[in-house]
Symmetry: C2
């Protein structure tokens, strides 16, 4: 079972878009996939066509110990794709858990109660390095970092890498960065080529060969509650996420 946390505290770097579209493509290949929405904004939940206010059981009830995870799982329109949904109350879990012993490991322990087998668990993280993100880093084994090809994107990376390092040393020795993904890439813009070059220099072979191109269909798909594969199957966005998922699958042999 692969367990991947999609993280970048910089807002708008393409985390939710990556989680939803990679999840759907993986499910289309017949793999069993669980997506976990750990963002109180609930964007993965919305992107998959669910309404957070109408969600009863969510990641919030699971993290504060009110409900075993199995009972909070929701099915999606995609066969083989399940979701642990989110809602705005999840923001208060960060405060409620502050005094809990081993507060970073609450999600890891909750996942032990899963009753069904998944080939992939993928977590969408909020744009911060708080307790919710630390729970993802403790529960998962792999980190996928989406980076928008814009100037400020490189600024925040040091803090992200420091946080991952501390978690590796103190809490989760198995954790490793297995992929860095360039998103919203436009070949015609100097700034995009600049940033992509710097990311490649820094992360070397961890950078996916696939770059997700800037594509308006990817920005439209969430408002229709659909993944790009369904919303615009022949778009660049759909091509790129299928290509990326093939790279992720090829990693199965050696991660």
């Amino acid at each position: 079972m692969r367990k991947i946390a999609v993280i970048n505290q910089k807002g708008g770097s393409g985390k939710t878009t990556t989680v939803v579209n990679t999840g759907v493509v993986l499910a289309r290949t017949g793999r069993k996939v669980l997506l976990i929405d750990l963002d109180p904004q609930a964007h993965t939940t919305i992107h998959l066509g669910l309404e957070p206010p109408s969600v009863n059981n969510s990641a919030y009830e699971v993290l504060v110990g009110k409900l075993p995870i199995q009972q909070a799982l929701a099915t999606t329109q995609e066969k083989g794709l399940f979701l642990l949904p989110s809602k705005i109350e999840l923001a208060s879990a960060e405060i409620e858990l502050v005094t809990t012993v081993g507060r970073e490991a609450v999600l890891r322990d909750a996942l032990k109660n899963l009753r069904q087998h998944f080939d992939y668990i993928i977590v969408d993280c909020p744009p911060s390095l708080g307790l919710l993100t630390l729970n993802a880093l403790t529960a998962m084994r792999e980190v996928l970092i989406p980076i928008q090809a814009e100037f400020f994107a490189l600024e925040g990376l040091t803090k992200l890498l420091q946080t991952i390092e501390i978690v590796q040393q103190r809490i989760n020795r198995d954790l490793a960065i297995t992929g860095v993904l360039i998103t919203m890439y436009d070949e015609r813009k100097n700034i995009c080529r600049d940033v992509a070059r710097k990311v490649k220099e820094h992360f070397k072979d961890k950078v996916f060969r696939t770059r997700i191109r800037e594509n308006v269909r990817l920005a439209e798909a969430p408002s229709f509650g659909k993944a790009i594969l369904d919303f615009a199957p022949s778009s660049h966005g759909s091509e790129d996420y299928q290509k990326l998922t093939r790279e992720i699958i090829r990693q199965e042999e050696h991660v």
Copy 2:
């Protein structure tokens, strides 16, 4: 003196770009302007060509009471434009201030020690609704909300408006939303027109007539440490921020 907080907890909505470019245009009209970088990412500081690590005195020292604000002010390449710079240590001010009595009013009190007169004070806020943003909402009288013309941009607004309302009721009766700005707008994309229409329906006459168009020069300017007026004076970005600033100046008679 106008005091404006530029706020939106959604990352990448155009806060820093708006603060820097509006500040520079205002200074060009002969007004005395103070920009305050309240984001530990220090993007306004970087965008104005300063290096945070080499900054000794910053917003951090001012907020934790180590230094009067006057001594932390930095000059910029622009005559009449001053900056209270930021650095990564500012992130720990949020933690250090948690037990301070009246912790939301620390910036408001620090500003009382300003020794010079400014026509405008504009604060760049971090992408969150934590203590730093609350300090901006307590110290300022006006709120300018940049909204990126993308689907998820509307999702987070409720929480932002709730936070502004609580501050108005409990701490700062004078606070008012005086402008909502559509950023990264592309007339050719349905999603942009949709979002702009919804924002107009919701905020009515608070929405600036000027929309900041998607313009790659605005994305490049920060990497050169320059405002758009200097980096690409005849670009759409430069035109739009000049037009926006004219609207902001016209508000002077009635805010």
